[in-house]
């Protein structure tokens, strides 16, 4: 997996490169907008990480031009601004996700993984499965080991998101944004409560738990080894 990081803060970029390499990515760096656009257009990258504010060509224009030229590589915007309309502007310019600085590295990693995955050809799925946990999206039925589980609508959406990202870490913020469509941080970890309720329904009474808490990062739904 190849990631292009377009970021003018050299220390931040190198730190990001190191972290992503530790996680198994091949990382290239560009330090300004013009260089970044040229690399993004010529190279074959799986994800672009683009800072909003760049010398010579700002991030928004860079992505607009990339998209105008037919480039479809998923883009994660980074921004020190983080204001309400920045997210909207970023997504309108052709970004796929948006992360405000300062961010936790685990958050960045989780979002890059989600973007890489999104790039895989998406067929219309009617059925999700993780180990013996199954979800029928048409009939909105969930079962584990053929035992029907009754979920609230929000629990269903939460589980659906976890199952679509099975095997990957999803952060609390990602859940808030994608399941609740909220763009703010609750002070206490309300998400933990929702997760533990869901866990009570899908894992309770089963020998092998599927829903795991990843300390300092978020949660992961995965099949037992």
């Amino acid at each position: 997996m190849r990631v292009l990081v377009i970021e003018d803060d050299r220390r931040a970029a190198e730190y990001m490169q190191k972290g992503l390499q530790e996680s198994g990515y091949l990382v290239e760096l560009a330090s300004d907008g013009i260089e970044g656009l040229a690399m993004a257009q010529s190279g074959d990258f799986d994800v672009l990480v683009v800072d909003r504010m760049l010398p010579r060509l700002d991030g928004l224009t860079l992505v607009s031009q990339l998209r105008a030229g037919g480039g479809e590589t998923p883009v994660l915007f980074l921004s020190a601004l983080g204001q309400v309309d920045d997210r909207v502007k970023g997504l309108k310019a052709g970004g796929d996700d948006y992360l405000a600085k300062p961010y936790a590295f685990t958050e960045l990693l989780a979002r890059i993984e989600a973007l890489v995955r999104r790039r895989a050809p998406q067929q219309v799925e009617t059925h999700l499965q993780v180990a013996d946990l199954t979800m029928d999206l048409l009939q909105r039925r969930v079962a584990r080991a053929d035992k029907r589980l009754i979920l609230q609508p929000r629990e269903f959406r939460l589980l659906e998101y976890m199952m679509r990202n099975a095997g990957r870490v999803v952060t609390r913020t990602m859940l808030l944004e994608n399941v609740w469509e909220y763009h703010f941080d609750p002070q206490t970890n309300v998400i933990d409560v929702h997760i533990s309720r869901l866990r009570g329904k899908i894992d309770k009474g089963f020998a092998k738990p599927l829903l795991h808490t990843v300390r300092g990062a978020g949660y992961c739904l995965r099949a037992p080894d």
């Binding site: 300062p102 609740w180 609750p186 929702h194």
Partner: protein, 442 residues
Amino acid sequence: MALGYLVLFGLSSLALMAFLFWTTNGLIARQTDDTIRAEITGLAEQYRRSGTTGLRNIVAERSRNQRSSVYLLTTPTGRILAGNLDGWPPVPTQADGWMDFTFERPVGQSTETHQARARHFRLAGDFQLLVGRDVQERIDIGSRVRQSLIWALALTVVLGLIGGVVMSRNMLGRIDAINKTSQDIMAGDLSRRVPVTGSGDEMDRLASQLNDMLAQIERLMTAMRQVTDNVAHDLRGPLSRMRSRMEVALMKKPEAGGYRDILEASIEDSERLLNTFNELLKIARAESGSEASDMKDLDLGTVARGAAELYEPVAEDKGLTLHVDIEAGVAGRGIEPLLSQAVANLLDNAIKYTEPGGHVTVRLAQGETGPVFMVADSGPGIPADQRDRVLERFVRLDASRSKAGSGLGLSLVNAVAQLHGAQLVLEDNSPGLRVTIRFPST
């Protein structure tokens, strides 16, 4: 500058008085000329009708009766036929027939020299007629008027000078006071204020405006200082904790292990620090009003219900009853993420501070003046004298700080309410706290 004003003032006074003099004097002179002209016309008519004899009789009669007039009728040879002048005045007739001369007027036993203005008229047969008026009185009045005007001018200039000096001294004194105050303030004494005399004049109004501005600046400065102090105080704790934890970790032998726990704990601490900074930035942004342009029409019920649904399991887990009472179709205008955050903060607080078995109510209704949103709990509440204070950044009432939290939640709610032009009210819910946000009607 002051001298320039004085000269200008003197000149304009002079011009005003000269104008007054010229118009009144000129008016009287013109009236005299008109009556003389009319009289001559009358006499010429008389001459045509009744000849020299008739004219002589009339002139003689008028000379006797009309003391303020002068008459003289002479033959072509210069012999006096009638009149009250001793002879033809020794001045040449002006081209327009007018003459100004002096004559001796008998007053009692003696005579007085009087000024006269007359018109010289040649009758048919070369008889000469002179009709005039004694203008001495007019000239006397004129000179008296002129004199008094000069006095008035002198007085005006002197008074203006004195008044100007007094006023500018007074003004300069007050401006000096303002300068002095500004210098003191620049030197660091923010409590200084410009003196107000109480006269209510323009300078006073300026002074009170300046004072209001200074008071506002002082308030902001104090608030800022407080925030800085609080930031320093609240961030020092986790930072020094992190530092000592890492120092202790370094003392251990590398093979002893346990690094992972230390790093994870440090990450948690740094995350808390970053969150605090983010909250501060969010509050500052909301307070600056720079996001006001992002306002959109929205359904406040959706916002309230969403947050209530998010927190419902949290309340239930803690053994609280959550009442949700949301009127349908309450529309508002605002920034959705900020409103959601504000509602979430209020719910967060309510649930955090209410003991198990208590209840929390979320209510949204269309009030008379606009949408009214309310979160009430049955917790310990906030004493009346502390309700303003808890809106400040980092203020937490539980001295033990046993409950997790940054002390920024209500500050953000307050900033968000202000950004939306809404009114935030903290009240006693006896028992508990009731927080109401009254939105303006859209």
